[in-house]
C-alpha cells in the first residue's frame, strides 16, 4: 500500500526573537519526509507568522510511512549567513495508517530544540491517503494496531489471543560515530533522536508483520525499550502480545469484556469452586506461586512449545491454541531442560559458553515465524474474566553479559540469542510450577559500562483455552449473560501443581472460600489483581530496597562479581518483601516488579508490589523474634521490646488497611454441600492448624508464627528497617497496581506526575548497611513528599507507583517515579448497597445468587457455600494429573532458591471475606462521577482507564524520545531547573500530539527512560527521556448508559 502523505503548515506563534536588531524573526519552515524536502515562504518580521502554505505532497511507500517520522523544521531566514534553526517537530504518522485510529493530525505543536527546549509553537495539518496493494511480499504492516495498554483495550473485544511477539533492531549510536567529534551537540542530538524514531518505526513495522503472519490485527501490552550500549551500539527492542481484536460498536462499548463472561461459568464448574459471597467475582482458579529466581542461563532450547498459537485466521477455530494435552506432554519431555542449577553463571557463560547454544538459537531464529512463537508469554497484566485459570507464581531470570564481547555489534543476532536464552529459562521455570504460560511478562536491562544485566520476569499461569473458544462461539449468549453478576470467585489461588510434589516448600491449606482446593499460604504475582478476586480490606504498596557494594572491576571479573551477588540480592529482597507482607498482615503481592540496577561500585535492588489480603488464602501468621542466646537477660528484654513493637505494628496495620476478616464459625462453614464439607473436615483433621480453626488470627505472638532469628547485628538492623517504613498518612493509599483493592468509587480527580531525585553519596567508605539506610530513606522521603504535595486531593490513592532506580555515576543514586493520584469518594457504603440490585438475576447460577442477596441484608452473615456443580471437572483433573510428577521431582531442587529465613507456619483461622463487589460498584460510580473533560485539557494516566470516563476511541500509540542538552546549567536553575523544565516540556509535547490527533487523554502512559548525565564543572548536562502511551478519546460516563460491568480490565 503505497500512500500519499500531505502536510500543510498553517501558522506559528510565540516564536523566539532571532534578530536582535528588530526584536523579530523571519521564519520559514522546512518539511521533510524521507529524502524529500519542501519549504514554505519566509514570513518576514513576525513572531506569530501565518504561512498558510499549500499542501506539500509526499508520495512514498508504506514501509517508509511506517518507519519515518514527518520532520518539520522551523528556521530563521538570514540573508547573509546560514539560516538559524529555531527548532523541530517530529510527527509520527503511524496513527494515520490505521483506519480505526485518527484520520487527521491537526494542531499546535511545540517547536523543540535540543539545546533551547521549546521555542514557540507551530500549527500543522497532516493527512495520509493509502492505496490498496495486495502484494503478498510486502514489508509493511500498516493497519496493525498497537496498544501500550496491558489488557484488552476498552472498546475492543478479543477474538483471539495469538501470543508473544518480540523484535529487536540494532544500530550504531550516533554519539559514538567518528563524525560526532566534529559536529555540534545539536546535530548529534538530532541525529540520535531521528535514528531512534526511525528504529522505533522499523521495529513496530516488523512486529506488525509478525502479527499479520500470525493472523492477528493488533498488539496489546506493547513494551518498547532502548538500550544505549555505548560503543557497541544502540538497541531498540520491543515485546507485546498479538491479538485479533474486534471493535465494539459504541453501544456495547462499555461492555468491553462481556464476551469473556461466559467463560466464567465453565471455569467455575471446572474447579467446582463455590461462590463465596455474592460479589461479581467470577470463579476462576488461580495458582499461587512463590518466586522462583534463576540467575543463570539454561542454554538448551526445548522442543517446540506446547503453547504455540495456531496461525488461524478464522475465528471458528479454537482461538487459543495451547492445549492441555500438549502441554502435559511437553512438560515431561522438557524436564531435563530446566533448572539444573548452574555454577559459574553469568559472565563466564556470556561468551564462552554460548558458542554451542548460540548456533542452535541462530538456526531457530531463521526458521519460520511459527518458531518465533515458541514462547507462551503474555505481556498482559489484566485479563478478561475467566482467562486466567490458575496462577503459579513469579518466575524470573537474569543474566549478566559483556557488551564488548559481541562479535558483530551491528547485527542483532547476539542480543537475540541472549534474550532467547532468558526466555527459555523463564519458560522452563513456568513449567516447573506446573504452568503452561507466563503472564504479566516483561523484560528489562541495566547497563553500566560494558556490563549488562538482562532481566525478565512474569507470572507462571494456566490459562483457560476453553474459555476463549466459547467466548468466540457464543457471543450471543455472552452478551446476554453479561448483565448477570458473575459468580464470585472463590479466590483465585488454587495451586496448579501437585501437592505431593511441590516445587518448593509451601504451606498448603484448603481454600478459605470454597474449601475444596488447596491454596498456598502466600501468593506473589506480577499481574494486576483480577477484578473478580475477593479481597479483605485495602491493599498497600510494599517495597523492598537493597544496596550492595561491589568492588570496581573490569570485564569478566566484574561480570562474575555481579552475577555472584545477584542471587543474594534476590534472596534478600524476597525476605524483605515477605517480612513486610507479614507485618501488614497480608498474604499476597500483585504487580511485583524487581529491578536490579548496576553501577560501577554497587548494585541497587528495588522490589515494589502491592500487598493485599486475599480472602481465599489463609491469614498470615505473625512475626516472631527469636534470640540466638537464650539466658541473656538483656538480650531477651531487647527481643521482647522488638516483639512488642512488631505486634503493635501489625495490629495498627490491620486497622489501617481494614483487614479484619471475621472469624468463620464451624456452622457457617458447614456447607449445603455435604460432600465438600466432608472434604474440608478431612483436611482439617490432618492439618497442622486444625486445632486453631476457631481462633482469631490475632495470635501473631504464637510459636508457629513466622520466626525471625536475631543472631547478629545485621539481623537487628533488618528488623529495625522493617519498622521504619512510615505508614501512609490518613486519607492516602498507595499501590503499584492499576487500582487499589478495596477502593471502588473513584471520582474524576486525576493527577499524573513524575518525580526524580538524585542523591550524591558523600561518604566514600560506606557500608552496605549505611547504603541501605540511605536508599530506604530516599524512597521513603519521596513517598512522603508525594503525600504532602497531593494533600489537597485527599482522600486519594496513588496508583501505579512506578519506581525506577539507576546509578548514573559512581556516587549517585537516581530514583525516578511516575504515578497517578486519583481521588475517590470516601463514602463507600452507599455505593455498595446501591450496587446490590443489579446483582440479581442469573438464571443458571441461582445457587450462587443467594449470596449477594444475603450480603445485602447482612454482610456479616456471608460465608462460603461451596456450590456444587454437576458439570465440571475437566480442568480439575488436568491440574491434579500425575504426569507432572516427573517434573516435580526435578523441581524439588528449586527449594534452594526459596529458602527463607526462619520457619514459616501459618496460623489458620477460618474466616470469610467481606463483600467486595469490585466491578459492580465501580460501574455504579459512573452515576455519580462528574469527570469534566474539557477539549483543551489532555489528561495523562499510567492506568488503562480514566475514572468516570469511557474510552470511545483509541487514536494510536504515542512513543516519543527526546534529548535535551544544555551548556548553561547554572543559568537554567541548576540540574533541577534543567530537568524540571525538560519534563514539563516532554509532558507538553505529549499532550500536543494527543490533542493534534483529536484525543483528550493518554492512558497507559509510562516514562520508560529518564537518563540524566551532568557535569556541573563544565556547566553542562544532558538528559534523555522516552515516554509512551495510548492516545484516546474519552467521554464522561453518562447516567443512562448500561452498567459497564468490568471497568478494571
Amino acid at each position: 500500500m503505497p500512500g500519499k502523505l500531505k502536510a500543510k503548515i498553517v501558522a506559528g506563534r510565540h516564536l523566539p526573537v532571532m534578530d536582535r536588531a528588530s526584536d523579530l524573526t523571519d521564519a520559514f519552515v522546512e518539511v521533510k519526509f524521507g529524502n524529500t524536502t519542501f519549504k514554505t515562504d519566509v514570513c518576514h518580521k513576525s513572531l506569530n507568522p501565518q504561512w498558510n502554505s499549500e499542501w506539500f505532497k509526499f508520495e512514498v511507500d508504506d514501509e517508509d510511512l511506517q518507519d519515518e517520522p514527518l520532520q518539520v523544521t522551523v528556521l530563521d531566514h538570514d540573508t547573509y549567513s546560514a539560516n538559524d534553526a529555531i527548532g523541530k517537530v517530529y510527527i509520527d504518522i503511524d496513527p494515520l495508517l490505521c483506519s480505526e485510529a485518527a484520520s487527521v493530525i491537526s494542531g499546535w505543536f511545540p517547536i523543540y530544540d535540543t539545546i533551547h527546549g521549546i521555542r514557540g509553537e507551530i500549527n500543522v495539518l497532516v493527512k495520509v491517503e493509502l492505496f490498496n496493494d495486495l502484494n503478498r511480499f510486502r514489508q509493511s504492516s500498516c493497519g496493525v494496531k498497537f496498544f501500550c495498554t496491558a489488557s484488552i483495550p476498552r472498546c475492543y473485544r478479543a477474538v483471539l489471543v495469538h501470543g508473544f511477539v518480540e523484535e529487536l533492531v540494532v544500530n550504531e549510536d550516533p554519539e559514538y560515530q567518528w563524525i560526532d567529534r566534529i559536529r555540534t551537540p545539536r546535530a548529534s542530538n538530532e541525529a540520535r533522536q531521528r535514528l531512534i524514531s526511525l528504529m522505533s518505526g522499523e521495529l513496530q513495522r516488523k512486529i506488525g508483520l509478525k502479527v499479520l503472519e500470525m493472523g492477528g490485527n493488533a498488539v496489546v501490552g506493547y513494551l518498547q525499550c532502548f538500550d544505549l550500549e555505548g560503543e557497541s551500539g544502540l538497541v531498540v527492542r520491543a515485546i507485546g502480545t498479538a491479538c485479533t481484536l474486534d471493535k465494539l460498536s459504541s453501544g456495547s462499548a462499555p461492555n468491553t469484556n462481556t464476551h469473556m463472561h461466559p467463560s466464567t461459568a465453565p471455569a467455575s464448574n471446572a474447579c467446582n469452586s463455590p461462590s463465596k459471597d455474592g460479589k461479581d467475582v467470577s470463579v476462576h482458579e488461580f495458582l499461587h506461586i512463590r518466586p522462583v529466581f534463576g540467575e543463570d542461563m539454561t542454554s538448551t532450547s526445548g522442543p517446540p512449545t506446547p503453547f504455540r498459537a495456531l496461525p488461524t485466521t478464522s475465528s471458528s477455530l479454537p482461538p487459543f491454541s495451547p492445549s492441555k494435552p500438549c502441554s502435559r506432554q511437553s512438560s515431561s519431555s522438557d524436564t531435563d531442560l530446566s533448572l539444573t542449577p548452574k555454577t559459574g553463571m553469568g559472565s563466564g557463560g556470556s561468551v564462552g559458553k554460548e558458542a554451542g547454544p548460540l548456533k542452535t538459537l541462530l538456526r531457530q531464529q531463521t526458521q519460520t515465524a511459527l518458531e518465533q512463537r515458541e514462547f507462551p508469554f503474555f505481556t498482559l497484566t489484566s485479563f478478561p474474566p475467566g482467562f486466567l485459570v490458575h496462577v503459579g507464581g513469579v518466575v524470573s531470570a537474569r543474566s549478566v553479559k559483556l557488551l564488548d564481547r559481541i562479535h558483530n555489534p551491528d547485527e542483532p543476532e547476539t542480543r537475540d540469542a541472549w534474550w532467547e536464552e532468558i526466555r527459555q529459562e523463564i519458560k522452563s521455570h513456568g513449567k516447573a510450577l506446573g504452568c503452561h504460560a507466563v503472564v504479566g511478562y516483561s523484560e528489562s536491562t541495566s547497563i553500566c559500562e560494558e556490563v549488562c544485566i538482562l532481566s525478565a520476569s512474569g507470572t507462571a499461569a494456566i490459562l483457560n483455552p476453553r474459555y476463549m473458544r466459547e467466548g468466540c462461539l457464543d457471543i450471543g449468549i455472552t452478551d446476554h449473560r453479561f448483565e448477570e453478576p458473575s459468580p464470585p470467585s472463590c479466590g483465585f489461588c488454587h495451586i496448579p501443581y501437585d501437592e505431593l510434589n511441590m516445587p518448593f516448600p509451601a504451606q498448603l491449606t484448603y481454600c478459605y472460600l470454597c474449601r475444596r482446593q488447596k491454596v498456598p499460604d502466600v501468593l506473589f504475582t506480577t499481574i494486576n489483581l483480577p477484578a473478580e478476586a475477593a479481597v479483605t480490606g485495602k491493599g498497600c504498596l510494599i517495597q523492598a530496597r537493597l544496596c550492595r557494594l561491589k568492588k570496581k572491576a573490569q570485564g569478566e571479573v566484574n561480570a562474575t562479581a555481579i552475577s555472584n551477588l545477584l542471587p543474594f540480592m534476590e534472596y534478600e529482597l524476597h525476605t524483605q518483601l515477605m517480612n513486610k507482607l507479614k507485618l501488614r498482615s497480608m498474604n499476597a503481592l500483585f504487580g511485583l516488579h524487581i529491578q536490579i540496577s548496576v553501577g560501577e561500585n554497587m548494585l541497587l535492588g528495588l522490589a515494589s508490589a502491592t500487598g493485599v489480603y486475599l480472602a481465599a488464602l489463609p491469614p498470615p501468621g505473625g512475626i516472631q523474634i527469636a534470640g540466638k542466646t537464650p539466658g541473656d537477660l538483656s538480650a531477651e528484654h531487647h527481643i521482647l521490646t522488638i516483639q512488642k513493637r512488631i505486634n503493635d505494628t501489625i495490629a495498627k496495620n490491620k486497622e489501617l488497611y481494614q483487614i479484619n476478616p471475621p472469624e468463620l464459625t464451624e456452622e457457617v462453614l458447614g456447607s449445603p454441600v455435604p460432600d465438600s464439607r466432608q472434604r474440608s473436615r478431612l483436611f482439617r483433621s490432618h492439618s497442622e492448624s486444625s486445632d486453631e480453626v476457631s481462633e482469631l488470627d490475632l495470635s501473631h505472638g504464637k510459636k508457629d508464627a513466622f520466626v525471625l532469628e536475631i543472631d547478629d547485628t545485621d539481623a537487628v538492623e533488618d528488623i529495625h528497617s522493617l519498622l521504619t517504613d512510615a505508614p501512609t498518612p490518613t486519607g492516602f493509599y498507595s499501590c503499584n497496581t492499576e487500582i487499589m483493592p478495596g477502593i471502588y468509587n473513584w471520582t474524576s480527580g486525576v493527577q499524573m506526575f513524575t518525580s526524580v531525585r538524585v542523591f550524591r553519596l558523600s561518604n566514600a567508605n560506606l557500608t552496605n548497611q549505611g547504603l541501605n539506610k540511605i536508599f530506604t530513606d530516599l524512597c521513603e522521603n519521596l513517598l512522603k513528599s508525594f503525600y504532602f504535595k497531593l494533600r489537597s486531593m485527599i482522600p486519594c490513592c496513588l496508583c501505579q507507583l512506578n519506581f525506577t532506580v539507576a546509578v548514573p555515576e559512581e556516587e549517585l543514586i537516581q530514583v525516578t517515579v511516575t504515578a497517578v493520584a486519583m481521588t475517590f469518594d470516601k463514602d463507600q457504603n452507599q455505593e455498595m448497597t446501591a450496587d446490590k440490585p443489579p446483582a440479581k438475576g442469573g438464571n443458571e447460577t441461582e445457587e450462587q445468587l443467594q449470596f449477594p442477596l444475603e450480603l445485602c441484608a447482612d454482610p456479616s452473615s456471608a460465608n462460603c457455600q461451596p456450590a456444587s456443580k454437576a458439570s465440571g471437572v475437566p480442568e480439575c483433573s488436568n491440574f491434579s494429573s500425575i504426569d507432572r510428577c516427573s517434573t516435580w521431582l526435578e523441581l524439588l531442587r528449586l527449594k534452594a532458591h526459596t529458602i527463607r529465613r526462619g520457619s514459616v507456619k501459618t496460623i489458620s483461622s477460618l474466616e470469610r471475606s467481606s463483600p467486595l463487589p469490585e466491578g459492580r460498584s465501580r460501574s455504579l460510580r459512573s452515576n455519580r462521577s462528574f469527570g469534566g473533560i474539557s477539549v483543551t485539557v489532555v489528561k495523562m494516566t499510567p492506568l488503562s482507564f480514566l475514572p468516570g470516563t469511557r474510552i470511545i476511541k483509541y487514536l494510536g500509540i504515542i512513543n516519543m524520545f527526546f534529548i535535551r542538552e544544555t551548556t548553561s546549567l547554572r543559568e537554567e536553575g541548576g540540574v533541577s531547573g534543567f530537568l524540571h523544565t525538560f519534563i514539563a516540556e516532554v509532558f507538553s509535547m505529549v499532550r500536543a500530539h494527543v490533542a493534534a490527533l483529536g484525543g483528550n487523554a493518554v492512558v497507559s502512559y509510562s516514562m520508560k527512560e529518564c537518563m540524566l548525565m551532568e557535569n556541573p564543572n563544565k556547566n553542562q548536562a544532558q538528559c534523555l527521556i522516552n515516554v509512551s502511551g495510548d492516545a484516546v478519546i474519552c467521554v464522561r460516563e453518562t447516567d443512562q448508559e448500561p452498567t459497564p460491568s468490568t471497568a478494571s480490565i
Partner: protein, 441 residues
C-alpha cells in the same frame, strides 16, 4: 538529606496559593519554609522540614518558569508548557499583578523610569515591602504602561484585554498609568493622608471626564492625556469670578439654596468668593503642565483647608458643592455650562473624597506623622477583593475578559456618565462608611 537533584512535575501543574504569595512577596526559599512551618502546615500533613523545603523549591521553580508567561498574560492561556486550569490561571495573573497599596502610593505620579527604579530599595525599606516584590510591582507598572501607551481605545478595557486582570485591578492600573503619564504630584506632605485608593478614585473621575477619550473613543492615548481643548476652554470659566455681577448673582443663588440646610451658612457666605475664586483659578491654570501636576495640592490648599479652618463637615462640603455647581445653571448670562459641568463633576467628587478622608482623621493631632508609616492593609482596600474576584464570578478568564460589557459595571469612559458615576460614588460612600468603623490609625 540534601539532594543533588529533586524535581516533581505534575501533568496538571501543582501550585500552592500560599507559596505563591510568599514567592510574590519576595521571600527566599528558606524564609518561605520558615513561614510555612510556623503556619502549621507540617502538623496538618505529617510532613518534615525536608519535605517542606523540597516542595517549596519545586514551587518556586515552577513560578520562575511561569513568570515569563505572566509578563504577557494572554500567552498563559494558549501556551502548552504548563497545563493550568483556567481559574488557576486567572488567580496566578491577578495575584502577580496585585500590588501593595503602600508601595504604589510611593511611586504614584512618578515617572516610571530607571531613576525611580533605583530608589526602590528606599521605598522598600519605608513601606516594609521586600525589594524583590518592589521590583516586580514596579516592573508591572512599567510593563502595563508601555503596552497601553500605544493602544487605541479605552484604557481600562485595554488593560483588561491585554493583562486579563479583574475589573477592579484594571481600573487601579489605569489610575497608575494615568498618574504616571500626567505626573500628578502626590508625594507632598499635605497629600500624605490620602491613600492610593483615594487617588485611584479621582483618576477614574479624571479619565472619564477630562481626557480626550471622554469625547472621542478611538484616539490613541485617549484615556491617558487630558483633553487640551477642554483645558483651553476652562479659561472661559474665569468670567465667573471676573464678572462682578455674575459672581454676586451666583453667590446669592447658592446662599438661598443653602438657607436652612446647614449650620455653617455664615461661613459659607463669607467664604464664597474666596472659594469660588480658588476653584475657578485652578481651572483656568490647567493649560499649564506644571499646574496640572499640582491639581491635588491646589484643591487641598484652595478649598479643603479653608473649609477645614471653618470646621465644615463633609456633609456641608457636599451640600455646598452641589448647590455651587447647580446654581451656575441658573445664570442666564453664563454660556459655558458644558465645560463647567465637565469640570465640576470631577472637582466635586474629588473634593468630596479628599475632604472625607481628612475628616476621618479629625481629632488625631498627629495624623500626618502616622500616615506616613501606615499603609492600608490588604484587608480592606485591595488584596482581598482581587483575589476573590475570579472565584466570585465563577472563575474563568472568559468572565473576566468580557466583564466590561456587562451592565452595571462602572464605565471607564464618559459616555454613560451619569449613572455610572453615581453608582461609583455610592459604592465609594459605603466603602468609606465601612472604613470609618475601622480603627485604622
Amino acid at each position: 538529606m540534601t539532594m543533588e537533584l529533586d524535581v516533581f512535575v505534575g501533568n496538571t501543574t501543582i501550585m500552592d496559593e500560599e507559596v505563591y504569595q510568599l514567592w510574590l512577596d519576595g521571600y527566599t526559599v528558606n524564609d518561605a519554609v520558615r513561614v510555612r512551618m510556623d503556619g502549621g502546615v507540617m502538623e496538618e500533613c505529617e510532613a518534615s522540614a525536608d519535605v517542606l523545603l523540597s516542595d517549596t523549591m519545586d514551587q518556586y521553580r515552577t513560578f520562575q518558569m511561569c513568570e515569563r508567561l505572566l509578563h504577557s498574560p494572554s500567552k498563559l492561556g494558549n501556551q502548552l508548557l504548563f497545563q493550568i486550569p483556567p481559574h488557576r490561571q486567572a488567580m496566578l495573573i491577578e495575584r502577580y499583578y496585585t500590588f501593595d497599596d503602600g508601595f504604589v502610593r510611593e511611586v504614584l505620579g512618578k515617572k516610571l523610569s530607571k531613576g525611580t527604579k533605583k530608589d526602590l530599595d528606599d521605598i522598600g525599606a519605608k513601606t516594609g515591602v521586600t525589594l524583590k516584590s518592589c521590583r516586580r510591582q514596579f516592573d508591572n507598572f512599567k510593563r502595563v504602561f508601555k503596552v497601553v501607551e500605544e493602544l487605541k481605545g479605552p484604557l481600562v478595557e485595554n488593560i483588561h484585554h491585554h493583562f486579563l486582570l479583574s475589573d477592579k485591578l484594571a481600573r487601579d492600573y489605569a489610575a497608575i498609568v494615568f498618574f504616571a503619564n500626567n505626573r500628578f504630584e502626590t508625594g507632598k506632605r499635605k497629600l500624605q493622608y490620602l491613600t492610593f485608593q483615594d487617588f485611584a478614585f479621582c483618576a477614574g473621575q479624571l479619565i472619564s471626564n477630562w481626557t480626550v477619550g471622554a469625547v472621542d473613543n478611538m484616539v490613541e492615548d485617549m484615556d491617558v492625556d487630558l483633553d487640551k481643548e477642554f483645558l483651553q476652554d476652562l479659561k472661559e470659566l474665569k468670567v465667573l469670578i471676573n464678572d462682578k455681577d455674575l459672581l454676586d448673582q451666583h453667590k446669592s443663588l447658592v446662599c438661598t439654596a443653602l438657607r436652612g440646610k446647614t449650620n455653617n451658612l455664615n461661613e459659607m457666605e463669607t467664604n464664597f468668593k474666596n472659594l469660588s475664586r480658588g476653584l475657578v483659578n485652578i481651572a483656568a491654570k490647567l493649560t499649564n503642565a506644571k499646574d496640572v501636576r499640582d491639581l491635588f495640592i491646589d484643591l487641598v490648599e484652595k478649598f479643603i483647608e479653608p473649609c477645614r479652618s471653618d470646621r465644615w463637615t463633609s456633609a456641608d462640603v457636599r451640600l455646598y458643592l452641589t448647590h455651587y455647581n447647580n446654581s451656575v445653571h441658573l445664570l442666564d448670562t453664563f454660556k459655558h455650562q458644558v465645560v463647567w459641568n465637565r469640570y465640576m463633576d470631577v472637582v466635586k467628587s474629588s473634593i468630596n473624597i479628599l475632604h472625607v478622608r481628612l475628616d476621618e482623621s479629625e481629632g488625631l493631632s498627629c495624623f500626618m506623622e502616622k500616615k506616613k508609616s501606615q499603609r492600608w492593609g490588604s484587608c480592606s482596600s485591595c488584596r482581598s477583593p482581587h483575589s476573590l474576584a475570579p472565584g466570585q464570578t465563577g472563575g474563568g478568564l472568559r468572565d473576566l475578559f468580557w466583564a466590561p460589557t456587562q451592565p452595571g459595571r462602572q464605565q471607564p469612559v464618559g459616555r454613560t456618565h451619569r449613572s455610572g458615576r453615581r453608582r461609583s460614588i455610592r459604592k465609594k460612600d459605603s466603602l468609606i462608611a465601612a472604613r470609618g468603623g475601622l480603627p485604622h490609625l
